[in-house]
């Protein structure tokens, strides 16, 4: 197995071995603390443009099962782990992690002191970096210094669907017609809606509000997705048109866009929230649940329209985890109620969305 390097923009270099395709992969280096779900994470579009460090050291144990993919491709540009396993064991596995990465041309490195990398990012914030199998650390560093900033790129454009499509069944066949604005959606959102009797039509992120409203959906779901929500002004404008006209359910990036549409701001977290163990408190019920998270930006509630209020907070750092409206059928959550990976405690949020659509449909406001 050939040597590989992980080089961070601050000049730190970590030696390891190539664990995927040969070559180079650049991106913003972020870490996720989930102990299971590497394949779901690898196919989560919110990792576009990022190099993913998994803090759990043993990755690939249960192999690869294409049925658990959350999108059609591997999304992070590269993967950084302590020990990638070439001998997986699971009933469903048909491939090793290495084979999977190689087949899809994704660069990865293992043997790295991932805890040291994580501590560095925690202390100094996320930063750009590269995985390379064919350069010296010095050469790689020179290249990293010239990389464009992660926050300057509109990543949604690179992951949103290029065309409108219906998930599983044609729109209209379900009890509820849901329009989903795809900023980088995970399949399980669609699966959970489908299971609750929704037919889902998926739209590119740039779709005008009028086109969506023309379909008379029972509700609109704003999907998660990658990158800085401040770059999404046009999407924010369109969402503003939707609020109040149709029940709106925003998840992660969708939550941030909706919050901006309601006058709030967003800011970049020093090292993001990525993991399956974040406690979120529902400020209405007082109930605490454990959530799956994957976001690098958060909502600053300053400026939030008086009609809206913060409904959920993160117990670790007090950041906004959800917004609801007093006047309109709207609710958003920063975390991933669709899990995959992560705890299933929050699927009830989808039930609430159904209730919201049912109430509007039944004329109860």
């Amino acid at each position: 197995m050939s040597d590989a390097w992980l080089v961070l923009a601050d000049g730190t270099a970590y030696r390891g071995r190539a664990a995927g395709a040969p070559g180079r992969a650049d991106g913003e280096v972020v870490f996720n603390t989930s102990m299971t779900g590497y394949q779901e994470m690898l196919t989560d579009p919110s990792y576009a443009g990022q190099l993913l460090v998994l803090t759990y050291p043993l990755i690939g144990n249960y192999g690869i099962d294409e049925r658990v993919e959350e999108s059609a491709r591997i999304q992070p540009t590269g993967l950084i782990v302590r020990q990638a396993t070439d001998q997986p064991s699971h009933l469903r596995s048909h491939q090793t992690l290495r084979e999977y990465l190689e087949a899809r041309g994704v660069v990865a490195i293992d043997g790295v002191d991932t805890r040291a990398v994580t501590r560095r990012i925690r202390r100094h914030g996320v930063m750009l970096g590269t995985i390379t199998t064919d350069e010296t650390p010095e050469q790689a560093l020179a290249r990293v210094r010239d990389l464009p900033g992660y926050d300057d790129i509109n990543w949604v454009d690179s992951v949103t669907t290029p065309r409108v499509y219906d998930w599983s069944v044609p729109l209209g066949e379900g009890r509820y017609r849901v329009a989903l604005l795809d900023g980088g959606v995970k399949r399980n959102i669609m699966r959970l809606l489908e299971r609750r009797g929704c037919s889902v039509r998926v739209f590119p992120a740039g779709t005008p509000a009028a086109d969506i409203l023309a379909l008379h959906p029972d509700g609109v779901c704003l999907s998660p997705g990658p990158g800085d929500p401040r770059l999404l002004d046009s999407m924010v404008r369109e969402v503003r048109q939707l609020i109040g006209r149709v029940p709106v359910f925003g998840i992660c990036l969708g939550h941030q866009v909706a919050a901006r549409a309601l006058g709030a701001g967003t800011f970049k977290l020093p090292f993001g929230h990525r993991g399956g163990n974040h406690p979120v408190k529902d400020l209405v019920s007082g109930h605490v649940t454990i959530t799956a998270q994957n976001h690098g930006y958060a909502v600053d509630p300053d400026g939030l329209d008086a009609s809206a209020f913060v409904s959920h907070i993160n117990l670790n750092d007090g950041t906004v985890e959800g917004i609801a409206s007093r006047t309109d059928p709207l609710m958003t959550i920063q975390y991933h109620s669709e899990a995959c990976p992560g705890p299933l405690d929050n699927e009830y949020i989808f039930d609430r969305f159904i209730e919201m659509m049912a109430a509007v449909k039944g004329g109860v406001r």
Partner: protein
């Protein structure tokens, strides 16, 4: 919400250490008491086990060391009137007592609120029928099973379900009495023992999931209904092996996110349905790979699973989960019981976040059980549903291979690494890989011989190929080390897989020390990473570390002088919780003296490995390599190399004294020199001779010829034992030359090249002292007298403080000898000395002989500290740091005797160890101890017997089988029993003697094939409720016959006395019915 905070809470401890209930409950109880104090809740603690930290005077607000029985608890409740009762921290014992207190109407009578787990939840978790109803209600899969109350019902159930089946008795700890049945004959036998074991004569006959994965979840819930998972764990040994006997990894390794979340959600549904406020453990069985073990069902659907068991309380697994994650489960559970919600409780590790989160691990934890088969070579080593391990070790590293190797190093089974192979395997056509304590090594051996992984997985009945692949990685590395020249990359790679210097040396043909030198030359040193609950996501302040071979070191040098406390490793027979008690106090004493306490230990059950016991905790094997690495890491600090303290961690710590001295590393307290005087027989003899102190005549020998000559000179009986072993291992009283030949052979094997000791066996009163020396003066906190005469291992003897049969002259001689020995050896700190005192005629001088000297803390330290009020470990550490006893406020000589009586009684786990003989002898067999304390000797004795389950039922039937040697001693005892109204049953010889005394007796045949009723029948069918059986020497037929009697008594769980002295004490207590007091330890001590 109503105000939930109780003003005072009664906490029930788990009692003595037995198999299935070890130190984890001391850890839980101690944490809980501390948490109560933080919450301003008055804590009242009851436990019969004096060797615990929780029963220290200052842990709870009121401490009772009293028997754990309903009448005693009622008296405590009546005195203390607690508002709440927290029954979830004392294991199954605590839970069962809470149920009994409630049933007896006592909780209602005194208005005591049950906290943590509602009574209904206990019933639903423990009663199989209610359990199944609950699962059905939740829509959880229910395993095919039937509740049975008779053997016939069991047979019918098994016919319906189909063999093989598992039999699980209701309301027992550690699955006692249960087992697996593959045939109907087996079924009948297991059903009978299971029904006998269950206090409600109920067992569950259940479909056998042999080969399925076994996975556990530790979950928490607060009063507001918030639920979290602390940790999940996967057993490397699949279904069929008790989880306490399984190698366990955390987190799970072979579960996908779908599998993981499916089981997690089920666990949370169950804890919510039960309404538990606190911790709970849920065990699942998950379908394995179909190619390993086939099952019916759709492989594309979510994997089928079953809920196997729910423990609605803190458990052994939750202690492991706490140490594996850093999340203090018992502490949080106690706070929840005080009415707190998870989001109100701070995370004590990060100090920045709250308890409402789920720990994220960025390492692998491996637990390996520690079994007692090194002591019980004849015991049945097969592992099944009955737990057999006495303790466990845990190791942490960044890969499974490394964590496993470190865990094996921590086991301390005769220095056995993963390279060890049983000699019989060399020529075996197939390595046996069924579940035994040696399976891990057997799997390694099979892989070394090239066995296919899938075949091995099937043959081992389901060890997942993932684990075998990891073992295969280790085998590959072994081969590389054998074949390739050692170079830096190879050595680094081997170290990253957890190979010790010794293993590398063995394979690469170097000495361990040479490997160490190479490592230093090549810059290959371990770094230390923090266990922070959050995978480095937050800055944590916890000082809890493990070693690994990676880039960044997080255990950076700190300001201030420190000292290393070498802990005692896994709980095993001969080295129990007492040594953890001493280690914890050593850490506290260092802190009290203004030093940084650095703790090293490998045992996850203990208080010593609680992250807030020391200033820095290294969770590491207790071998030379690990300890020297830690010292080198600490030596980077401004204060330089920290000294080590080796006298509190039992033989484990003593064993590193020599290596540390050879490496030029400082030890404070008694040094290797004092240890050597005590352990080198020839030096010791000379030393005592020079002091003019007598010891039983004897010699250290290395050949059989020498042995025969020595024995002849000193006269039989003689005591044979290897030097340098603990717990009297392979020690035997030998009556004649024939026996001598056998035992010298056995002892030579254990001694492994070191000399064997042969001493004249003196039958007198055995007396024990612990002394503290500061180099000039010697304080003897107390003298303890053993109830059993010499010949029974001190750890298995009942001991009474203060002595009842010694006069002042004898005591003075003992104190004088003690002082001269301790000063002469240059022992600093604690020393334990055992004496034998022979009867003397009027006017004769005291006849005191020294049996044994150990310049270290002994297992009596917690007992004696508690009953004398002398903080022995604190004084010893003070002395090591150069503070004189006088400076510490303590005098020279014998500490004034307290006006109380305290009796320490051993507790055994014999019902759990099939095939092990229970008779008391020079080899230690007990797993734990209890204490009875009172103002009178009789009260203390009664309490000790009750707490040790040795109290004789009044007017019962008793079986006597007395050896010829002890018949004369037994006469008064037989008269007493007859007078007390006992019905006597006896074997032939004993029966003739009783008849000759003119007393009524029923003769029972000894010969198992010679008609009924025989000795085993009368025990098993409940005709007798107690047994007195004194064995002859081991070589006689009577010992073999007696074996069946003793095993039957163990399995039927009735008192069985194998020493006339213990029986005499029990009958004495019976004769004067127990009129005992119930009071706090403080009250007993303050009675002066």
């Amino acid at each position: 919400m109503e105000s939930l905070k109780p003003s005072s809470v009664l906490i029930i401890g788990s009692g003595p250490i037995v198999i299935g209930q070890a130190a984890e409950f001391d850890y839980a109880g101690t944490q809980a008491c501390k948490a109560m104090r933080e919450e301003g809740v008055r804590s009242i603690l009851v436990n019969s086990n004096p060797a615990t930290i929780m029963t220290d005077l200052d842990i709870a607000d009121a401490v009772y060391i009293e028997p754990l029985t309903v009448p005693v608890l009622e008296r405590i409740i009546a005195r203390e009137r607690p508002e709440g009762l927290l029954p979830t921290l004392g294991g199954q014992t605590g839970l069962n007592l809470a149920v009994e207190l409630s049933k007896a109407g006592i909780l209602e009578k005194y208005g005591v609120r049950l906290l943590g787990t509602p009574l209904d939840a206990i019933r639903r978790a423990e009663d199989r029928e209610l359990f199944r109803e609950m699962l059905a209600k939740l829509g959880e899969p229910v395993l095919e099973s039937e509740i049975c109350h008779t053997v016939e019902e069991c047979v019918a159930a098994a016919e319906k379900i189909g063999l093989p089946v598992v039999i699980r008795p209701a309301y027992t700890l550690g699955g006692t009495g249960g087992g697996m049945a593959f045939t109907m004959d087996q079924l009948r036998a297991v059903a009978a023992s299971g029904l006998a074991a269950s206090p409600i004569t109920q067992v569950l006959v259940e479909k056998n999931l042999l080969g399925w994965k076994e996975v556990e979840y530790e979950v928490m819930r607060d009063g507001a209904g918030n639920c979290i998972t602390i940790c999940n764990m996967e057993n490397m040994d699949p279904m069929g092996v008790h989880t306490g006997d399984s190698i366990v990894v955390a987190p799970s390794q072979t579960l996908s996110d779908k599998d993981y979340q499916m089981l997690r959600s089920a666990a949370l549904r169950i804890i919510s349905e039960l309404g538990i406020e606190g911790g709970c453990n849920v065990q699942f069985s998950l379908a394995p790979r179909k190619d390993v073990c086939d099952w019916r069902g759709d492989p594309d659907a979510p994997l089928p699973y079953y809920v196997i068991e729910v423990n609605p309380r803190v458990s052994r697994s939750s202690a492991l989960a706490s140490k594996a994650t850093g999340y203090p489960i018992a502490r949080v559970a106690a706070k929840i019981a005080c009415g707190r919600t998870l989001d109100e409780i701070p995370n004590a590790v990060t100090k920045k976040t709250t308890a409402a989160f789920e720990p994220a691990l960025d390492y692998v934890v491996v637990k390996i059980p520690r079994w007692p088969f090194d002591k019980f070579a004849l015991g049945d080593r097969t592992l099944g549903t009955q737990m057999k391990a006495t303790g466990e070790v845990m190791a942490i590293d960044r890969t499974f291979e490394a964590a496993l190797n470190k865990a094996v190093r921590s086991l301390e089974v005769g220095g056995r690494s993963l390279l060890w192979e049983r000699p019989e395997w060399r020529d075996a056509a197939e390595i046996p890989v069924h579940a035994t304590d040696e399976r891990l090594w057997a799997l390694m051996a099979a892989l070394r011989r090239g066995e296919d992984i899938l075949d091995l997985s099937r043959r081992s009945r389901g060890v997942d190929p993932w684990f075998l692949e990891r073992l295969q990685n280790i085998v590959r590395m072994e081969r590389r080390l054998l074949e390739e020249p050692l170079h830096p990359d190879l050595l680094r790679e081997a170290k990253r897989m957890g190979f010790s210097d010794e293993m590398v040396g063995q394979l690469a043909d170097r000495l361990p020390e040479q490997i160490r030198a190479l490592r230093h030359e090549w810059g290959i040193r371990p770094v230390y990473k923090m266990v922070d609950t959050c995978a480095a996501e937050f800055d944590a302040e916890t000082p809890y570390f493990y070693s690994t071979y990676e880039q960044e070191n997080e255990a950076l040098p700190e300001e201030g002088r420190g000292a290393l406390v070498v802990g005692s490793g896994p709980i095993r027979i001969g080295q129990g919780i007492e040594f953890d008690y001493a280690s914890v106090h050593a850490a506290w004493a260092l802190q009290g003296a203004g030093l940084r306490a650095i703790m090293v230990n490998s045992n996850p059950e203990t208080v010593s490995t609680d992250f807030d016991t020391s200033d820095r905790l290294y969770f590491e094997p207790l071998d030379e390599e690990a300890i020297r690495d830690i010292i080198e890491n600490e030596a980077e600090g401004p204060a330089g190399t920290p000294p080590s303290i080796v006298q509190f961690g039992g033989q484990t710590a003593i064993n590193v004294a020599g290596p540390l001295r050879r490496a030029g590393l400082p030890i404070i307290g008694s040094d290797a020199e004092a240890i050597d005087i005590a352990e080198d027989r020839r030096r010791f003899e000379r030393f005592l001779q020079d002091l003019g102190i007598p010891q039983p005549p004897g010699a250290a020998i290395t050949t059989l010829e020498e042995a025969m000559k020595t024995a002849q000179q000193i006269g039989y009986p003689v005591l044979v034992r290897p030097s340098y072993v603990l717990g009297g291992r392979a020690m035997e009283i030998v009556q004649n030359a024939t026996e001598l030949v056998t035992f010298v052979g056995a002892a030579a094997e254990v001694a492994a090249g070191k000399p064997i000791l042969i001493d004249k066996f003196l039958e007198g009163a055995e007396v024990e002292v612990d002394a503290i020396c500061d180099g000039e003066r010697v304080l003897v906190p107390g003298i303890m007298e053993h109830i059993e005469r010499a010949g029974v291992h001190s750890g298995d003897s009942m001991a009474v403080y203060p002595p009842v049969h010694l006069d002042d002259e004898e005591k003075a001689v003992i104190v004088d000898y003690t002082r001269r020995i301790v000063l002469g050896m240059g022992a600093i700190g604690l020393t334990n000395i055992q004496y034998v005192v022979l009867p003397r005629k009027a006017g004769e001088a005291p006849r005191v002989f020294v049996l044994e000297v150990n310049p270290r803390a002994s297992r009596t330290v917690p007992f004696l500290s508690k009953v004398t009020g002398v903080p022995m470990v604190q004084l010893a550490v003070g002395a090591m740091l150069g503070r004189k006893l006088a400076e510490q406020g303590y005098p020279d000589g014998l500490w004034p005797e307290r006006s109380l009586y305290a009796i320490k009684a051993p507790v055994f786990s014999m019902s759990k160890l099939t095939g092990v003989d229970t008779y008391l002898g020079p080899e230690m067999k007990s797993t734990g101890e209890v204490m009875g304390v009172d103002r009178t000797f009789e009260g203390a004795l009664a309490k000790a017997l009750i707490a040790a389950d040795l109290a004789l039922p009044p007017k019962a039937s008793i079986l006597l089988s007395i050896s010829d040697r002890t018949k004369a001693d037994a006469l008064p005892l037989i008269h007493q029993l007859a007078e007390a109204g006992y019905r006597l049953y006896a074997t032939e010889g004993t029966s003739r003697m009783i008849a000759a005394l003119g007393l009524p007796v029923t003769t029972v045949t000894k010969v198992l094939s010679g008609g009924h009723p025989n000795v085993v029948d009368v025990i098993m069918d409940g005709t007798v409720q107690c047994v007195i059986n004194t064995p002859e020497g081991r070589m006689t037929g009577s010992l073999r016959d007696g074996f069946h009697i003793r095993r039957a008594a163990a399995e039927r769980r009735i008192p069985c006395f194998t020493s006339i002295d213990t029986a005499r004490a029990a009958i004495q207590a019976l004769a004067r019915p127990a009129d005992y007091d119930v009071a706090t330890v403080r009250e007993y001590l303050g009675a002066d």
